[in-house]
Symmetry: D2
């Protein structure tokens, strides 16, 4: 299984009045992690969109273990949890500068046409990309 | 079971280049729905914080069924899915102006001290509030 | 001069670790105020976009007088500060529940084609809307 | 004059349905640029807050010259535009991967006590930091 690593730019804007990172902002970090994994294996989400397709989120699960504060280093580790013809699930670990697992989760995606949001077969429309995910996915 | 209803102010800022609402923003809507439910039953999250406690998110699940576009009306329906001494789970429906169920999910929370994030018994520290949730929760 | 009033849904997500609303979020409130003014005079920004045009921000000025905290009521007052053939400037007051002026500012906009971002004459492409702004603008 | 350079992580979350970066998000980039400049000269905003002070924004001006799209590289250049005993103004350039100036602006800040938001003399409470700004500021 290949695990992509992405260091995150944590912004003061991401904090809330509890003095920690607001929970919804972790989903932006998942997005950055996912985008990095795609680049690591030689593809580009921006290029997918230019070709008329996009990959909206169908389902998210996230568990928060330890709050993250402004000034901490944050790393997102991303892998392919599952890969099917119509749906791909990414797995994530959010790790702080001490190596503590602060949160973990998954996001499930489909590939759809940008103009009508109708799902298409990832396997058929992006065969090289799909095949790459087969190779690196969690066994 | 009591269901709180909250109409959401959808902002252009919440959209993304797919032309739909960016998925992480639904979590802000869940927050607004949850806050409304709390007010509906006579309490105030802001007052909880002033008294030295807060209720961070422990776990989120959300499933997206239908994209929401700028200009659509959005309603969040919120209820108490589960209520235990240490953890409360809220349930949510996101509904558009045509009454379509666009997304649904849950968020699980604990009550903790603001100064050290140590969990406390919701039941014991906010007994009236806890009891109210017992009355209105999903049976 | 017509002044539109819009009550804002303040979210916990909008706070930062100073315990106040993060400054960039006021720009989202300006957006909500501006959208309300447009609706008040009988038009719709969403409809402008459907017809192939949009109105990006060219310039912003904002002065912060008093911090706003979670739990406070927030009202945005919006008016037409200037209106020219190519550029329209909106003026804003951000007022809390006690009526204190917490921030004020302006945003300048042009109307452009969505496909190439080339500016067009607001006066010529949306003559009724432009005329309405002439009537209600600051004298 | 010293100019700090910071490459920005542009997120899909930052886009809007115009297909460009939503204007308010540039202010988060200004924040990242400012934080980098502070680190470049040997200080830390996070440490300022730990010592009981913070530096809220008093005034912002920003002019947008050219839209930025997802997938573009973004660099923020930050410098000290003005530095007085009570107020410091940072200047910013937002530059894309082709070196185009896409936006520019300023933010003015005061140092205040975190507990009551009363302004204090930056010069007096952080003399080394203030002196450093005197050396690197725009002449």
């Amino acid at each position: 299984m290949y695990i992509s690593k992405k260091e995150i730019q944590v912004s003061y804007a991401d904090t809330d009045m509890m003095g920690i990172i607001y929970h919804a902002n972790y989903l932006k970090w998942f997005e950055l992690g996912r985008t990095q994994l795609i680049e690591d294996v030689g593809y580009s989400y921006a290029e997918m969109e230019k070709s008329g397709y996009c990959a909206p989120v169908l389902k998210i699960e996230i568990t928060y273990k330890k709050p993250i504060r402004y000034g901490e280093r944050v790393m997102v580790e991303t892998w392919i949890e599952e890969n099917h013809g119509l749906k791909t699930t990414y797995g994530y670990h959010v790790v702080n500068g001490e190596g503590d697992l602060c949160a973990f989760g998954t996001t499930r995606h489909a590939v759809v046409r940008k103009d009508n949001f109708k799902p298409v077969q990832f396997m058929k429309y992006f065969p090289g990309w799909f095949q790459k995910y087969e190779e690196i996915k969690k066994k």
